[in-house]
Every structure is written in structure tokens, then in C-alpha cells.
Subunit: 461 residues, 2 copies
């Protein structure tokens, strides 16, 4: 039987596949930092080469930001035409001193929970992306061709707000049409529990600078009468929240937020998510979000306003008695339900402006994007087929889960290409994505490839 | 008459004196940053050389930090033996991009308010220190010797908390004994108004880190249930203040703070301080400190708790959806009256610890010092003599002022050496000390030298 042969081929090729991933991980494709522009480009070239080696007609496609990689293989038949999406860019690595190894010199490490591939991007998203590419490589090696028409679509700006994504989708609508998008950028709800993400939170990014005195001041001269932008910023950040309820205190913030239906809540309660472990693994004794919601609901179904960076004044060695002229803040919101990112941005900005003291000002960064939350169309037959395939591979019933993260591309596939997405990923919660010492379990990589082979088989049988 | 000859000599030597100051300013003696250790040392060597050129028996004296420079000249007679103090270290220069020139490549610039010497340390304190050295050089050139016994004592750690000062004073008590300390590190209350600072605020420095999750987290995974140290820090900073009254809300903070006596307040009201100009020159429309006090009282007679640095999370280009493991804060307090820095440090720490949420922690930096406020002994006859000399030079009645800054050495001269201090300085409020584009007016430099010559004459007549 051809599926068995493909699975065997994946098993016997694991070491070589791991070597290929390592090579890919060595390219520091940090998309958010302009200093790494050439490396991002190099990662795209690497992918094009690798796809071509499997006989896929792949190209690097320029954008006004980092390039896209697009590949085509196969002809339309009565089997579905799938578009596979992943991203080849990675998060920044700071704080570098907390890494136990060079983030871009990956290695296999033995840990208490098994063997892992350690390095930036191992889990998010290079390792995940390669599970699909390797499944195709094995399929091709065994069968001489792939089982359906496949479009490969890899982005290099996912970690920096995907500024070129919508223009690219719009300009290449016809070329990127397919029956279903497969996206590998999500995690399993618990170790060993295969998961299909059926709802994602959206995202809103903003950044502002609080201004005060015209220049940095000496606190011996102006300490007392001087307005301090750092204190002003702290007060504004504090005003974002209602400490009693844990809710965001920006007017209109919860417009479009819906409660989770009872039956869905019940499914989540039995999906294998271990709240205690999820919290204690990072040092928390309890969930710190909105009162009255479980950690899972806070993560999957409730919106947030999170401060991702605060800075201003002196942060070097020793001390400096300065009242700085400016203080800076980066925020992101996770959106759910029908929250509208544009309305929310306006509400947050109005809130900040209403909080300002006399003599304080605010400047906004106007280059940051937003995306709505997404709910998958799990009534489609492909979802049941994939659930069966995953259950077979992992020997455990696959589950439909929510997700706290944001994968804006899913919303744009729908709005621009009219395309439903299916999100299947093999990351674990402890992969430390976006953190020092990111890793991807060798089990995730290996069974991930096998899972895709089974899904391709199930979708085309 | 010998004083006139000295003053003429100062006038004719102004260009050469300016060149010497420039040379001194070119040495980037930033004491708080270990990267500049060799430069701080080089500045001490420069001073030793320069003092020796005037016939002063000067030496660089090692400490466990940056060196002291000590010089002696003259024998005990019936004229007072003065100890002159200044500091040769300077503040860091960040944000460097706001400087209009290299901070360590000083130059004379023409401005609307006259000619200035632009560069880091021009005003604080290299330029001020050199007013006294140059006065001595001129005196020596004209008279062949100085008019009294003088000890020169220059510190290289004033901008970094003076860690070696007390041990050095204690170890060299006998050598540093004198009748009166002269300190040149203060400003004039208004342009052209010669000022003797009769009270100084004290200083307390502290630094803390708020800890939360064990590692940096991805806000897609933990945004909601996760405790964010940046939000925690913002709330703690906000809790330092009572927004209604503008007072510091730390329990016990105002213990030892006294109201300014009516007669002193009246003197301050007529001392030439222009509140409107003082505030508007840096972009303020009103004083932002405690309600019910003028800007001058807020600056000279009221205590503060100031945030000098906040940082944590991502501050690079673009955005990063991180919940950081840590958030950092540098604070300083300006102390008045009988406030006890040690008790206050305990009160602030207890306040922060009481504010912490479950799962949040705090780490303190235990290397930072404190000093009490100081009140000068203006009943001594030298103060009246200096006031007369200054009034003659500036053609304007000299005034006794308060000061918002902290000059801890004054307290240590008293407690360790039993020495009263007289603080005479020629800086202007717009000198931008501790800020980008620091400058010292050529008028301050020139008339400063002349003022010291007159004071030396008045003290020894």
C-alpha cells in the first residue's frame, strides 16, 4: 500500500530531513529587523532550491518588503487542490544572554521530555513548514508524483505584521486559487493530542511615545515641578485595566466579544489541556486574566491588551538623575469574535489621549496593522478526513481547539481568495516560540511529516 | 593694586584658559559606565599635570573606584585655609542623536544669549572647576604665590554616586583638614544673579526589577492568563503618587520634611527667579509637583520620587508579541529637611513589595547610596565676604538660594571632616547639564574666574 511505503520512507529519511531543517535554521531570517534583510532573502532562496529539488516549480517573488516563495505542482483532477502555507521568517532573539546556545547554530539536544531540535525558528515556523515539504518529498520519492495539485505559498513577513501579504494575494488571486488552504503554524493542545485549530484570535498592533519636556532634564533642576513622561506612561498603561475584574478598561473594548457556547466549552474542558501544568510550567500559580474565565477561555476566547515593550530614560550601568523628554510603549491586542481592529485602534488612541496631563503629548506609529479573529469552516468534509488521519497517526482522538495566537493569513485567504483554511500543527506549548531556547520536539517533526502524508492520503483517497 | 592686576591677567588669558578647558572637555570621563574607566583616569592625569603647572603639589590618588586628585599649596598663616572641591567626571551622553555636535568635541558657539562653550561637562563640572583653577593660575602669575593655604580636592565619581568618597575622606582626614570648603558645582538663580546656595536637597537612589514568568512568553499563548511584569511595573510606579495632591503616596515619605519659614520664602520670591521662564524654557505651562507650592518651593524645598529609567520587553524595530519575564526601573528621590535616606529606602521597598501581585517578584540593586539634605552655615563671616565679592563682580546683589540638586560631598565634609562648605557656582538653568547639548556660557567661565579671584582676595584681606 502506497501510504505505508511513504510512511516508511519518512522514517528512513528522518536524519537527512533533520539535516535539511538544521541548514534552514542556520539562516537568521529575522523579518522585523532591517539588519537581517539579506538573511531573510537567503532563507527564501534556500526554500526555492529545496522545493525545486522535489520537482516543484518554485520561485522567489519580490514584494515591497521580504519576498514570497510560491511553488506549483500537479494538475487539476477530481482530488482537491490544496494550498500549503507556512512562514520562513523568525522572531528576534533577544534577550540573547538567556539562550543556552547560539540561536542560529541549532542542534539536537536530549531533554527529560525527549529529543528536541533547539534553535530560533525550530518550531515557529521552519520546523513546522518542513513537516509538509518533507511529506511531499517522501511521497514523490515513493510514487513519482504527488497525489493532488498543490500550491506552496511561503511568507517571509509573518513575524513582522505581513505588510506585503494582502497586496500580494490581491495581485496574484488567480494563481493562488485552490480548494482549501492547509496551514502549519499551530500547536497541539497537549503533548501527544493531535489538534485542529478551529478558532484564532485576531491582532491589533500599536506603538506610542509620550512626550513631556522639550529636552531631557536634570532631576536636581526640575525634579518636583517637572512632568515626567515615564510616570505619565505608567499611569496611562495602568489606566488600560480594571484591576478588580481583570478587564480592559478602554471604552468600547468588548464590543463584538461573544461568550463561548456551552457545548463548545464542554469540548474544551475534555480536550486534554492541563491548566495547572500550562500555568506552572512558566511560573504561574493561577490565571491572571479576566475573573470568571478559565485559563483556556482567557487564552482562546477573551480579548487582551498587552504591553510588549516599555522604555525611556536611562537604562545603562549605574544611575542617571534624568527626567527624560520621551517615554515609549509597544502594545498588541488579541481580538476575538467580531471585534473590529480599526474601531479598537481608535478607541485605544482616544483613551490614551484623554488620559494625558497638561504639557504631555503623544505620537503614534501609523505603520502597524490589524486583523480580525477567525472561525474555521469545520463542517467541510476535509476536516473530518484530516481528523481521522491525525487520530490514526497519534493513536489518540484528534480535537478541535481554539487558539490564543493570531494567524492573520487565514482571514486574508478568506477575504481575498475566498479560501477556507485548515490549521494543523505539531508544536508543543513548551516550545518557547518567541522566547530564548526555542525548540521543536523531534517527535513533532517526525510524526508531523507522517501526519501530513496521512492527511494527503485521506484527502485524495 | 594686586586684585586689579589679577583680574586683568584673567581677562588677557581668557583665550588660553578656554583652550585648556577644551582640552579637558575632550576627555570622555563618564564615571557611571565602566567602558570609560581609562578615560576617567586620563582626566585625573590631566588635572594633576595642570595643577603642577601652577606649582601645586598635586597627585592622583587611587581608590577602589575612580581616582581622586589632591593638591596642596601654601602654609598655614592667619588667613583661612580653604579646600576647593569640584568633580572631573561627567554624565553619560545618551540620547546621542539629539546632540548637535560630538559631545566630546567641544567648541565655542554663538547663540542668541551670547557665546557658549558646548560639550559634555562644559558646565557640570569641568568648566566650573576650572574657574577656580584659572583664578589661582592668574593670581600666581601676578603675585608669585597664592594668598592662602589651599587644598585642591577633585573627585571622579560624583555622577555615579561617589562610592569611594567617604572611605577616602576617612582615610585622609588629617590631610584634608581645612577651615572652609569652597564648592563650585551650582548654578545662579537667574542669569546674571550671583548666588550662594544655602540649602541642598539630599538624594536616594534605588533600582528594582519586577519578575513574572520564568521566561519571555508569546502573547498568543499566554496573553490573557499571563501576568505581565510591564503592566505590574506600570501599576507600581503609578502607586507611588497621589494624583489629586501631587504628593508621593509612599507611607512615611514626608517624615522630617519641614515647611519653609515665611521670611525665607519672602527672600526667595524676590531673588530673581522667573518661574514662567524657568518652566516655559523646557516646554511646561505650569508646575507639575505638589499642589499648593510654587515651582521654586517644589524644586528647592519639597522631596520627590522620580523615575529615571523604565525598560522591559521589546524596543527594537517593528513589533514583538512578547510577555517579558522581567521589567526594570531606576528611581531617585530628592530629600529635604531631616528625611533619612535609609528609612526612606526601606519605606519605598516595603511599598513596592506590598503592591506585588501573586506570581510577581522583585529584585533590588543593593549598590546604591543615599545622602541627607544639607543646610549651609551662612552665619560664618566668610559668607558675607563672598557675598560682597560676588556683588562687586556681577554688579548685582548676590543672593542666598536653595537648590534642587544634591551635592552629597557637602554632607560628608561636615560629618567626616567637620568642615563647613560654601557653594558658589556660575552655571545657568539653561546649561542642559545631564542633557544633550550641554553648554557653559563664556560669561560664566570668564566672570566665574574673576569672582573666585575676588573671593580669595576678600577672604584673605
Amino acid at each position: 500500500m502506497s501510504l505505508d511505503a511513504v510512511l516508511s520512507r519518512i522514517d528512513s529519511d528522518l536524519d537527512a530531513a533533520t539535516d535539511r531543517l538544521m541548514e534552514f535554521l542556520r539562516i537568521p531570517s529575522i523579518s522585523t529587523d532591517p539588519a537581517y534583510k539579506a538573511d531573510v532573502d537567503r532563507a527564501a532562496d534556500w526554500l526555492v532550491e529545496d522545493l525545486r529539488a522535489i520537482g516543484i516549480d518554485a520561485e522567489k517573488r519580490p514584494t515591497s518588503g521580504h519576498p514570497m516563495v510560491v511553488g506549483h505542482v500537479g494538475e487539476d483532477t477530481d482530488t482537491p487542490h490544496v494550498l500549503f502555507y507556512g512562514h520562513y521568517d523568525v522572531q528576534p532573539v533577544d534577550p540573547l544572554n538567556l539562550w543556552t546556545r547560539d540561536p542560529f547554530d541549532p542542534a539536537i539536544e536530549n531533554t527529560e521530555k525527549g529529543r528536541v531540535i533547539r534553535g530560533r525558528g525550530a518550531s515557529d515556523d521552519k520546523g513546522q513548514l518542513m513537516t509538509f515539504v518533507e511529506a511531499c518529498r517522501a511521497w514523490k520519492a515513493v510514487n513519482g508524483s504527488l497525489p493532488c495539485r498543490i500550491t506552496f505559498f511561503f511568507e517571509g513577513e509573518e513575524e513582522s505584521g505581513s505588510p506585503s501579504l494582502v497586496p500580494f494575494l490581491e495581485a496574484n488571486k488567480d494563481e493562488l486559487k485552490a480548494d482549501l488552504a492547509l496551514v502549519c503554524d499551530t500547536s497541539m493542545v497537549a503533548r501527544g493530542v493531535p489538534s485542529i485549530a478551529s478558532q484564532l484570535r485576531g491582532m491589533l498592533k500599536d506603538e506610542f511615545t509620550i512626550t513631556g519636556p522639550r529636552i531631557d532634564l536634570h532631576s536636581g533642576h526640575y525634579g518636583g515641578p517637572g512632568l515626567n513622561p515615564l510616570r505619565e506612561l505608567a499611569r496611562i498603561v495602568t489606566s488600560f485595566y480594571d484591576e478588580e475584574t481583570g478587564r480592559v478598561a478602554v471604552g468600547g473594548f468588548y464590543e463584538g466579544v461573544h461568550e463561548v457556547p456551552e457545548d463548545q466549552l464542554r469540548q474544551w474542558q475534555t480536550c486534554g489541556f492541563d491548566e495547572k501544568d500550562y500555568l506552572s510550567s512558566v511560573g504561574y500559580s493561577k490565571p491572571h486574566g479576566e475573573k470568571g474565565y478559565s485559563a483556556l477561555e482567557q487564552q482562546w476566547a477573551r480579548p487582551t491588551l498587552e504591553v510588549n515593550g516599555l522604555w525611556g530614560g536611562y537604562s545603562g550601568a549605574g544611575s542617571k538623575t534624568v527626567i527624560p523628554a520621551e517615554a515609549h510603549c509597544k502594545i498588541t491586542c488579541r481580538l476575538v469574535g467580531d471585534q473590529d481592529p480599526d474601531k479598537l485602534r481608535d478607541a485605544i488612541r482616544a483613551h490614551v489621549e484623554a488620559q494625558l496631563s497638561p504639557d504631555a503629548g503623544v505620537r503614534w506609529d501609523n505603520d502597524l496593522e490589524g486583523s480580525r479573529a477567525s472561525v474555521m469552516n469545520i463542517a467541510r468534509s476535509e476536516f473530518e478526513a484530516a481528523r481521522g488521519a491525525l487520530s490514526d497517526e497519534w493513536n489518540r482522538e484528534a480535537v478541535f481547539t481554539g487558539m490564543g495566537g493570531s494567524i492573520p493569513v487565514v482571514g486574508f485567504f478568506r477575504s481575498v481568495l475566498g479560501l477556507d483554511s485548515m490549521l494543523v500543527g505539531f508544536a508543543n506549548e513548551d516550545d518557547a516560540i518567541h522566547s530564548p531556547n526555542e525548540k521543536y520536539d523531534v517527535e513533532s517533526f517526525h510524526k508531523g511529516m507522517r501526519s501530513w502524508a496521512r492527511i494527503l492520503d485521506a484527502l485524495t483517497r
